[in-house]
């Protein structure tokens, strides 16, 4: 059996642009911003990068298909560059590709760059787009909040949760992320909000209100990876290594068979189990120091706490309200503000999460620095609750 990716690859550098409504910025501007920080952090020259992966989720609204946008923006020296798209897991996919390339020995140093330019549509929310010629014939008339709102209905029905209790827990998720985002100068949304504000915000897709939704943002994030040996030879200390990289894609069973009840995301559970095994984690609630999960909507984060086995089934409402995932809680979640407040430039999000974990693990997270974190988990969920692709990445101190 394969041994997995654990400790074979380390992060040599990471960078992230300011996220937000970057009316001023072209995709190339965003990429340059992230890349220059990353390159300086890695302490290498651009021509030492041997391969690169670019993740963008919605090409039609930013730069078009293919990988040239990255190669041209950074004037990469005619190296292999590949564009990756896998819904909201795209950023983590680029990281996975670069990591695997290094682990395989095919190259020594690789770059993963994710970005998205979403704010050129002329309206709020994600761009309207086709789901494919045939799917469009029968998929419901959906928006992203509408699809994730299904989780709330399923959860409520399964656990007989009172509508108001669930809404209050969802509000707590957002209040917490806003408090965290307020300490992050790169975050899209940096203003704290109150529970009342969250509860009374305009309804977007029942029961998801405006403050249950993440920011739709422009931004770029990237990481340069290499082997522990090369990192050391470059003078790096306090290495952060990849402990696990797992992906799980729906095969239509949740949406087409009769078992799934709509209260959880089946693929997250599968990917999480595999990731814990790959990372050698037996008790996630005790061993994971912090998480950055795919809080596209507050209900998604709440359910994800159960799907990552950090809360018991049906226990997330209480855990959330008890502050288990707050900045000063047992396992802080979205310490950088999350998708909710850091923002969600789709292709960049997975790499933005890695960036924050890397900062935290190297003690460079500034005002929001957690005390002595050892293991960080990131999670992306692309698509819909009943049909999606989920990535779970675990990074940690190389010596841990």
């Amino acid at each position: 059996m394969a041994k997995g990716i654990r400790d074979k690859v380390v992060i040599l550098g990471a960078g992230c642009s300011k996220f937000g409504e970057r009316w001023d910025a072209e995709p190339a501007d965003l990429m340059t911003e992230a890349f220059e920080e990353c390159l300086a952090d890695a302490g290498i020259e651009k021509n030492q990068i041997e391969a690169a992966w670019q993740s963008t989720g919605i090409d039609a609204f930013s730069v078009g298909p293919g990988a040239m946008p990255l190669s041209i923006a950074l004037r990469l020296p005619y190296i292999p560059v590949t564009r990756l798209e896998n819904y909201c897991a795209s950023g983590t996919e680029a990281f996975r590709a670069a990591t695997y390339a290094v682990a395989s020995g095919a190259c020594d140093i690789a770059l993963a760059m994710g970005f998205e330019k979403l704010k050129d549509t002329g309206y709020g929310g994600l761009p309207q787009r086709s789901r494919g010629v045939t799917n469009d014939l029968y998929y419901p008339n959906l928006s992203a909040p509408g699809m994730f709102a299904q989780l709330a209905a399923g959860y409520r029905a399964k656990y007989k949760t009172d509508k108001q209790d669930l809404k209050r827990a969802m509000a707590h998720v957002s209040v917490k992320s806003h408090a965290n985002g307020a300490k992050n100068p790169k975050a899209h949304l940096q203003r704290p909000i109150s529970e009342e504000q969250a509860l009374n915000a305009p309804m977007v897709a029942e029961p998801i209100g405006l403050f249950d939704c993440c920011g739709v943002s422009d931004g770029a994030a990237c990481a340069i990876v290499t082997t522990p040996e090369i990192a050391r030879s470059l003078g790096k200390r306090d290495l952060v290594s990849v402990k696990a990289l797992q992906l799980c894609a729906s095969n239509g069973e949740e949406g087409g068979f009769s078992k799934w009840d709509g209260s959880y995301v089946a693929t997250t559970r599968i990917a999480a189990k595999r990731a814990y095994e790959e990372a050698g984690i037996q008790n996630p609630r005790r061993e994971v120091s912090m998480t950055e999960v795919h809080d596209c909507f507050s209900i998604t984060e709440l359910v994800t706490m159960e799907d990552l086995f950090l809360s018991s089934e049906g226990g997330a409402v209480k855990d959330v309200l008890d502050g288990v995932f707050d900045a000063d809680g047992e396992i802080p979640c979205q310490i950088d503000g999350g998708l909710k407040c850091f923002g969600h430039p789709i292709g960049a999000s997975g790499l933005r999460m890695i960036y924050e974990m890397y900062l935290q693990l190297t003690g460079r997270a500034g005002e929001r620095q957690l005390a002595d974190p050892k293991i960080g988990l990131t999670h992306n969920l692309g698509g819909f609750p009943h049909q999606n692709v989920v990535s779970v990445a675990i990074v940690g101190r190389y010596d841990a």
Binding site: A152, E206, E253, F257, S258
Partner: protein, 482 residues
């Protein structure tokens, strides 16, 4: 013996209160106040002549397999397609077996339904099998017009044949006259008419008695013996006046439902016939008139079966199933009568990819899924590999019609972000009682009572309208049981 073997109807749920039309427009035309009594049936944005026809068919025949007639005639003056046979869409929405099925659109006149019925009866008389006539109408009307007050939306279906007859054909007469009480030219949206008094005196009062008189003579039936006089017209006093002139008893005159439905145009003769068949007693004579560039007159005699047979809901059921609508703007919006700001999200390209539509028409037109021959799992859409993870058999699925299936809502939302003509957009996971599940649109949802666990049935509706190219796509939506 040939005659009517089944009948059914459909009325849209929304009933626009006519008072709101008058309230909005009486400043301009105070005469509208006189017409502002009662309500009229009004299509939701996702309904048209085809979707209503589908409901009327299902009301008459149910959704069981094996109801395919020998001929399907669709009568209407408001068919969505001028060149794409509308009755074929209807046939596929009914999942009729196409192996030997005549289809025909009959249009251009308010008597298209009675004319279609005459032809259907001939098909039946020729021994070709049962023929199904469906009439459906969704006419556009100008703001503040008399027509806006008088017209309503609806559909009816009448099956004829030689089998178990509910009402046998006694006789018929058809007399064409180029009498233009109103017309609608090619490429125009609205009717243009002439003075009502002239239409009454020179039209109804002369043309109808000629045809009906000829029919009664031919059949040897006395006008006084008519028990049900179906005389569709938007002129309130015409049916009574004609009855008097012809010697038909007052009690036989059928209410034109002006204050409950509105005049459903080409569908109206069959709608009223369907209503009277619910009330007819064995032996009753039913006289049905279609008026428009002449006159069709058909005489039926109810058989002993008429009292036992019932449609799924029938006109009485649909009349009772209405929900008052007091928003005039909604009526205008649904009918595209306003230059309305729909928002940037409405501007997404809605091209119909016809080749993909054709490949997928079993799913989209007929709502046919698959049933695995190995593990019996029902699934929709049908796929190569069985969705049951314990099975996964390849190409094991038989076609499995799901249009008549009921289900329950497992998850749902009311989406205010996505573009919808009638926000919020409801959709959710429907789990079918027969197995299988689908994330699908919902329509006709009552926000106050709707929640997880709601029982639903599925219905053929408009999914998307491409105004740029004049196309519309259809699919199936779930409607909560009431």
């Amino acid at each position: 013996m040939i005659g009517i073997t089944a009948y059914g109807a459909y009325l849209p749920r929304a009933r626009l209160q006519k008072q709101v039309i008058a309230d909005a427009n009486a400043w301009f035309d105070s005469g509208l106040r006189g017409l502002a009594k009662g309500e009229k049936a009004m299509c939701n944005w996702d309904e048209d002549a085809i979707t209503m026809a589908t409901e009327a068919c299902a009301d008459a025949l149910g959704r069981e397999a094996g109801t395919t007639p020998a001929a399907l005639l669709l009568a209407s003056t408001s068919l969505p397609f001028a060149d794409r046979q509308n009755s074929v869409i209807l046939a596929e929405a009914m999942n009729f077996d196409p192996a030997n099925l005549r289809t025909l659109d009959v249009t251009s006149s308010q008597r298209s339904a009675t004319s279609a019925l005459l032809n259907a009866l001939d098909i039946a008389a020729a021994g070709r099998g049962d023929a199904l006539v469906v009439a459906s109408e969704h006419r556009l009307t100008k703001c503040a017009s008399r027509e806006e007050m008088l017209y309503g939306d609806g559909a009816a279906a009448v099956a004829v044949g030689q089998g178990e007859i509910l009402a046998e054909l006694v006789g018929s007469v058809s007399q064409p006259v180029d009498f233009i009480d109103h017309y609608r030219a090619e490429g125009r949206d609205y009717d243009i008419g002439w003075e009502e008094r002239w239409v009454r005196d020179e039209g109804y009062m002369k043309i109808v008695p000629r045809a009906v008189g000829a029919l009664l003579d031919q059949a040897g039936v006395a006008a006084a013996d008519i028990a049900h006089f179906v005389m569709p017209t938007d002129q309130r006093q015409v049916p009574g006046g004609l009855a008097k002139k012809l010697g038909i008893p007052d009690a036989a005159v059928t209410d034109n439902l002006l204050q409950r439905v509105g005049i459903t145009g080409a569908a109206h003769p069959l709608l009223l016939l369907a209503q009277r068949l619910e009330e007819a007693k064995p032996g009753d004579l039913l006289l049905v008139v279609g008026f428009g560039q002449g006159c069709d007159a058909l005489l039926f005699r109810a058989t002993s079966r008429v009292a036992q047979w019932r449609p799924q809901r029938g006109v009485s059921g649909w009349l009772a199933a209405g929900a008052p609508e007091t928003n005039y703007n909604k009526f205008q919006s649904f009918n595209g009568l306003l230059d309305k700001e729909l928002g940037k999200r409405s501007e997404v390209d809605k091209t119909a990819f016809l080749s993909a539509m054709y490949r997928n028409r079993a799913l989209t037109n007929s709502f046919v899924g698959g049933k695995c021959g190995q593990c019996q799992t029902v699934q929709i859409p049908r796929a190569h590999y069985c969705v049951n993870p314990e099975c996964g058999a390849l190409d094991s699925q038989e076609a499995y019609p799901m249009a008549g299936q009921r289900g329950k809502v497992a998850t749902w939302t009311a989406d205010r972000l996505t573009f919808d003509f009638n926000p919020p957009a409801y959709f959710g996971m429907v789990v079918f009682d027969c197995g299988g599940r689908l994330m699908m649109d919902l329509t006709e949802v009552d926000p106050e009572t709707f929640d997880t666990g709601a029982e639903v049935s599925v219905h053929f509706r408009i999914k998307q309208i491409d105004t740029q190219r004049g196309f519309r796509k259809y699919f199936w939506k779930a409607i909560p049981k009431r």
